[in-house]
Structure formats: structure tokens, C-alpha cells
């Protein structure tokens, strides 16, 4: 009996139909002509990076021990003793950084091509959720290295939660697994990082892609409408090239700028210079400029406006050109402020 017949008996599926569906969904997926430009197909970068993060993350988990006594030591062991440990860890660390960077770029591109407009509002919101998850990923992952900076980042970061009205304190205790940052906090963050967040992220990612596919990629103004090319081979190879390029860049970065291990966490002394990772610079700088309560409410307001922008924008004017100008203005302003705060914080 042929393999095909054997399989068909065990999995009674209509194979021709299956192949046809597969062809329609993947091989022949119509991709608008503008996607031949690299700048317009950066959305796949986070996906590639995420896949690599999963891979390197699994490998790190072979050696990482989430306990206050062993966390720092196991990161040191991976970095200094294990063969290619510095590389695997470097890929994971740089992958996380590039992930945030590529999301910034992706969001900026989507915003300025106004691809969030009706009927794609929901996908924008799904994207915002994904971005939030990516930031949480980074924060929890950073804390696992259990050095001075990451320990105090957790202390400061979880302390911020206290300012949430009414349920703030309960949230804090829940996050830390007690009043203080202890072994409970570490295992909680570890659990979030390796179980909870990946499951959530995959769920929203799949939704994001399904919605994207249902509508098709939006076609920005200034390109010929209605011209498509099939996913395979052009776009497929583009993704392969991007993957190889990213791997090469991240490997190079892990060698040129390898992530350090810092000093072991010491709960009794706060280090002199305490700073979050660069992608939290704008928020961090802003929160230090204004009174805490104000800062938190303004940040929350910004987040809400950011999330629901696709629904807010149509309320602003009936004329498309006016809406576009407002959107561009708001976007440019946000971009400038974000960049300015980031640069300011990195200089101080």
C-alpha cells in the first residue's frame, strides 16, 4: 500500500481539497504590489523574531534556574561556561530589542499609511494588545537575569502598579506574590514569561493574522490599486532572506556587543544609576518630570487614545483630507516627543 493510501485511511481527509485550500491560503495569497518594497513589509519581522525568540528561549530554559540563589548564577553559567551560550543568550537578548524596534517601525508604518482605517480598526487594537504583550515579555524577561538593575527594575516597576486606583495594592501583592519582591516574584515572572505570555501572544497573533488575511493587506495611497502578486515565490523568499539577515545581524551583535551579566541582585542596596531598558525611556522620563499621579493618568489617557485612535479619528472631521492632516500632525508630534524623551533620558 502506498504511503498516501495508508495515511488517507488514518486521516480521512480530502487531500485534493486540502492542497487546494493550502494553495489558496498560502502559496497564492495575493499580495499587493507595494509590498515589493522592503519598507512596506516590515510586519513580518516581528513574526520572524518571535519565532526565533521561542527557539532561543527554549534553549535558554535548558540551563536557567528561576530561584533567587541560582538565577544570576545560571545566567552567568550560560554566558561564560556553556558552549555557544553567549550566542544563544545574545540572540535572545538582541532579538527582544530588535522585536521592540521592529514593532515601533511597524506601528509607525501602519499609522502613517493610515492602514487602521475602517474596516481594519479591530486589527489596530489587536496590534496594540500585541505590542503591550511584547513589552511585558521584555520586562519579565529582563527581570529574570536577577542582577542589580533588573532586580530594582522589578521593584520600581511593580511599585508603579500601586497607583492604580482602588485595586492597586491587591494587584501589587498579586504580582509580587507578597508585599516584597521575593522568590515568589521571580517564579511568577518566570511563569508569565514562559507560559502565560506565549500562549496569549500566539492567540492574539493568530487573530491579528486572520483579520489581516480576511481584509487583505491595505493598499496605501500612491500605488497602483488592484495589482497583486502571489505569496510564493517572491514574498516567501523575501521572508527567508529577512530571517537570514536578522540571524546574521543578531549573531554579529552578540559578538560585538554581548549582553553583560551585571552585578548580582542585592536587595539591601539600590544602585546609584537605575534605568529601565531603552524602550521604557520615554515613559520613565515623563513619569519623573511630573507628579506621579498626573504622570500615570496622562500615560493612561495616552494609551487609551492610542488604542482607540481608529475610532477616534473619524469623529474629528467629515473631510478625509482634514482627518489625514490631523492624524499626520498627531503622529508626528507623538513621534517627536517620544524620540526627544528617549534621547533626553539616554543623555542623563
Amino acid at each position: 500500500m502506498s504511503v498516501k493510501a495508508w495515511l488517507k485511511e488514518r486521516f480521512p481527509i480530502d487531500y485534493d481539497k486540502f492542497i487546494e485550500i493550502n494553495e489558496n491560503i498560502f502559496i497564492k495569497e495575493p499580495i499587493p504590489i507595494h509590498m515589493k518594497k522592503w519598507w512596506y513589509c516590515m510586519g513580518a519581522t516581528p513574526l520572524i523574531l518571535f519565532t526565533l525568540q521561542v527557539l532561543t528561549g527554549i534553549f535558554l530554559a535548558f540551563y536557567f534556574v528561576p530561584s533567587p540563589e541560582m538565577a544570576y548564577e545560571s545566567v552567568r553559567h550560560i554566558t561564560q561556561d556553556v558552549r555557544f551560550g553567549f550566542w544563544v543568550r545574545g540572540l535572545h537578548r538582541w532579538g527582544a530589542n530588535l522585536m521592540i524596534l521592529s514593532l515601533f517601525l511597524h506601528i509607525t508604518r501602519v499609522y502613517f499609511t493610515r492602514s487602521y482605517q475602517k474596516p481594519r480598526e479591530i486589527n489596530w487594537i489587536l496590534g496594540v494588545i500585541l505590542f503591550g504583550l511584547a513589552l511585558t515579555f521584555s520586562f519579565t524577561g529582563y527581570s529574570l537575569t536577577y542582577n542589580q538593575l533588573s532586580y530594582w527594575a522589578v521593584t520600581v516597576g511593580t511599585n508603579l502598579i500601586k497607583s492604580v486606583p482602588i485595586i492597586g495594592h491587591s494587584l501589587l501583592v498579586f504580582m509580587r506574590g507578597g508585599e516584597e519582591v521575593t522568590a515568589n516574584t521571580l517564579t511568577r515572572f518566570y511563569m508569565l514569561h514562559v507560559w502565560f505570555l506565549p500562549l496569549f501572544l500566539v492567540f492574539f497573533l493568530v487573530l491579528h493574522i486572520i483579520v489581516l488575511r480576511l481584509h487583505g493587506v491595505s493598499e496605501p495611497e500612491g500605488f497602483p490599486k488592484g495589482k497583486y502578486f502571489p505569496f510564493y515565490p517572491h514574498h516567501f523568499y523575501k521572508i527567508i532572506i529577512a530571517t537570514l539577515f536578522l540571524l546574521a545581524v543578531m549573531s554579529a551583535l552578540s559578538i560585538i556587543l554581548p549582553p553583560g551579566i551585571g552585578l548580582p541582585a542585592d536587595p539591601t542596596t539600590t544602585p546609584f544609576h537605575i534605568k529601565p531598558e531603552w524602550y521604557f525611556y520615554p515613559t520613565y522620563r515623563f513619569l519623573r518630570m511630573v507628579p506621579l499621579k498626573v504622570g500615570i493618568y496622562v500615560t493612561a489617557a495616552f494609551l487609551i487614545a492610542f488604542t482607540f485612535w481608529p475610532f477616534i479619528e473619524p469623529l474629528l472631521s467629515k473631510k478625509n483630507s482634514v482627518r489625514r492632516n490631523i492624524s499626520y500632525g498627531v503622529g508626528a508630534l507623538t513621534l517627536i516627543i517620544t524620540l526627544a524623551l528617549t534621547i533626553w533620558e539616554s543623555l542623563t
Binding site: 534553549f59 561556561d81 558552549r83 555557544f84 550566542w87 537570514l244
Partner: protein
Amino acid sequence: MINEENQKRRSFLKNFGIIGALLIAVGLFFRDLWLYLYPPKRKKKFHKYLVAKLNSVPLGKAKEITLGNDPVFVVHLDQGYRVFSGICTHLGCHVRWEEEKQRFFCPCHKGVYDKTGKVISGPPPRPLDQFKVEEDKNLVYIYVETKTRGPWS
């Protein structure tokens, strides 16, 4: 005609090169990940360990000592001192020295070794392990592997 041939060859070489490079890259990638998972073999280090005074064990007798939790036999033969690990090479039971028969006996599956550690009968697959012995100024030393005990080894 000739041009077409050339063209073909050129594109073949090009594809060959690209695919070859890809395969090498992918191969290296997984090789490195594989190495990552396997802790490298460390070079063994040994240190000297005092087991007896030169004349403390009469000829044809053995002295049992323990090293860590493992039995070790210091045997005085015609050729000099021999030091054996008392761990049966079959499945790891502790052997005992039977002086009247001048042999080692393992009670688990009736393995028998002679006084030089050679297997006489029973299931053991190889002779008893021996330590390297050094006699120095009236004292007998053996070389014991230095085991550094850390969380990772």
C-alpha cells in the same frame, strides 16, 4: 547556441552556490545549538591521596579503606602495592576481599576476581578498576580524580 549553454551553466553555478551556502549556514546553526546542549567533557584532574604506610599491609593481605562512600582495597602483592576500586564492574555492588582464597567476591551475582583484579568467573565484564599507585618515602599514594562539585558539574 553557445551563449545559451553558458547562460545555463552560469545559472546552475549560481543556484548551486546559493543553495550550498544556505545548507552550510543552516547546518552550522543547528550544530552550534547541538553543542550548546551538550556540556563539554572536561579534562580530568588528579591529586595524590595517602592510602597506607609501606609496611603496614603484610604481603598477601589487603586493607579496606573508604574513599568518599566507595570501598577501596589496598593489596600487597609480590609485585608491590595494587589499589583496586571495590565497586563491581558488573552492576556496581560492593565487592569483598576473601583472604583465604586470595580473591574478591561480589555477593550480588557471584562475580569472582582474583587478587590482581582479573575476572575469574561470574558476570563482570571487565577487571576491577585500579588506581595509579605511587610509593614514595615509605608511604603509598594513589591518584584520585579531583571532582569539583558545583551546581553545574
